[in-house]
């Protein structure tokens, strides 16, 4: 047990060592000089020793005050850091949320971009084809030409029919005439033969 507490004591002393070597020695010196002063005889020596002790005491008090102030300062720094830590945590959470928001926005923007590009692709294809109004106009004019031409064709056909009929009439009359002429010839031939037979008969 003694060894443990000794170790603890040694550890603590070594820890406080930085400033502690001076302070510790000062306190030990103070105690020693107090004992010496109690045991001393003469008045002036006692007075000077007393003054010296007072100064050592004030030095010790001064260093203690300093350490207390440092301790206070550390406490306040800790509080400050705590506050900053919490703020940073909040801003991290905020940044996470913003990132999620932005990701959603990116997806939306990508969708929009895709739609635009699809539109552009279709528009390109459509542009290759000629304008609808123009084609309609062309179609109209072509239709009119077609009508006109079909009118002409009809009239020509009518004329053709008429001529054909006229020729038909002409040819049929010619044929009839030919027929009558042939008939007439035949009749005249028959008459001639009849006459010749009539002549030869009464002779014998």
């Amino acid at each position: 047990m003694g060894a443990v507490t000794d170790d603890e004591v040694i550890r603590k002393r070594l820890l406080i060592d930085g400033d502690g070597a001076g302070d510790d020695r000062r306190i030990n010196l103070l105690v020693k000089s107090f004992i010496k002063w109690c045991n001393s005889g003469s008045q002036e020596e006692g007075y000077s020793q007393y003054q010296r002790m007072l100064s050592t005491l004030s030095q010790c008090e001064f260093s203690m005050g300093k350490t207390l102030l440092v301790y206070d300062m550390n406490l306040r720094e800790m509080e400050n850091y705590e506050k900053i830590y919490k703020e940073i945590e909040c801003s991290i959470a905020g940044a996470h949320e913003k990132i999620a928001e932005c990701k959603k926005q990116i997806l939306q923007a990508k969708r929009i971009r895709k739609n635009r590009q699809e539109y552009d692709a279709l528009a390109k294809v459509i542009q290759h084809h000629p304008d609808r109004h123009e084609t309609l106009k062309e179609l109209e004019s072509l239709g009119k030409e077609l009508e006109h031409l079909s009118h002409i064709k009809e009239s020509v056909e009518d004329k053709l029919e008429l001529r054909r009929k006229q020729f038909h009439v002409l040819l049929s009359t010619i044929h009839e005439l030919q027929q009558t002429l042939e008939n007439d010839e035949k009749l005249s031939e028959v008459e001639e033969t009849q006459e010749s037979t009539m002549e030869t008969e009464p002779k014998p």
Binding site: Q117, A121, V125
Partner: protein, 350 residues
Amino acid sequence: MERAVPHAVPLGQVASCSLSPQMEVFQALQRLHMTIFSQSVSPCGKFLAAGNNYGQIAIFSLSAALSSEAKEESKNPVVTFQAHDGPVYSMVSTDRHLLSAGDGEVKAWLWAEILKKGCKELWRRQPPYRTSLEVPEINALLLVPKENSLILAGGDCQLHTMDLETGAFTRALRGHTDYIHCLALRERSPEVLSGGEDGAVRLWDLRTAKEVQTIEVYKHEECSRPHNGRWIGCLATDSDWMVCGGGPALTLWHLRSSTPTTIFPMRAPQKHVTFYQDLILSAGQGRCVNQWQLSGELKAQVPGSSPGLLSLSLNQQPAAPECKVLTAAGNSCRVDVFTNLGYRAFSLSF
């Protein structure tokens, strides 16, 4: 897609002292020639499944690899198992199962059980093929959550719909003249888009099971690149818009009018494309993941670690916002993880 010869492979992380030098060489060779075809994120968002050309599926723990105490071992798979005999071309996740498909069959695994060793598949189904001699591969899987069904498409040029509850195959949509590479779902009107080797993107209405629209990409001279072929390697759709690429240049189409609106100036054929926010991400032949704006400008090109990339996966599961990453995998045994679209954070390795 070609098939790889299946190997019997020693799996998982075996301490190197118990492996003979021959096995080490074998494993190293395997890793050299590995191609990762497909990826899928778990419903909880914390795990990533990757399927390679040897038919193995590896499950990586994204939460462990992204956490602040990640070590080198967190970049290795938590578990690897042999899922198929042939390459695993496509994987999707429902809210409880991992569905993987490759060599003509689709198998289902429970996410809750998958982390335990010796996981067995929950079920396996094969769509009704016309010829039973040759089993065509399944290149693409698509989940239709409204009907709770799965669409498979691949080598037999048809789209098969399978109801996930009953396991019955309900429809077979015919129209493609060559095998199908990729599928996409158009949410609003439940339509499925499929792109194939024949160069056409066909839209199918699921309710009437008929082909609604066909876009023959190679016929449009703005985007066709005959020297690359006419195959459509990748498709993505955003209801009114569709982006497709492969042989022809990567183009953005307006579906209603079937017109190509923007052509992205990328010479290398792209193998995977997806819409993300206001960007289009694409990857293909070439190290980089390309980020395009809808106007056709290249916003960024971020290099990965594989010489060519075959699949991109965006982990947008709401349950794990801290694992929101883009993962890219392709012609190597590594899966690149991008935490921010601007740079490659690290790579997970088989």
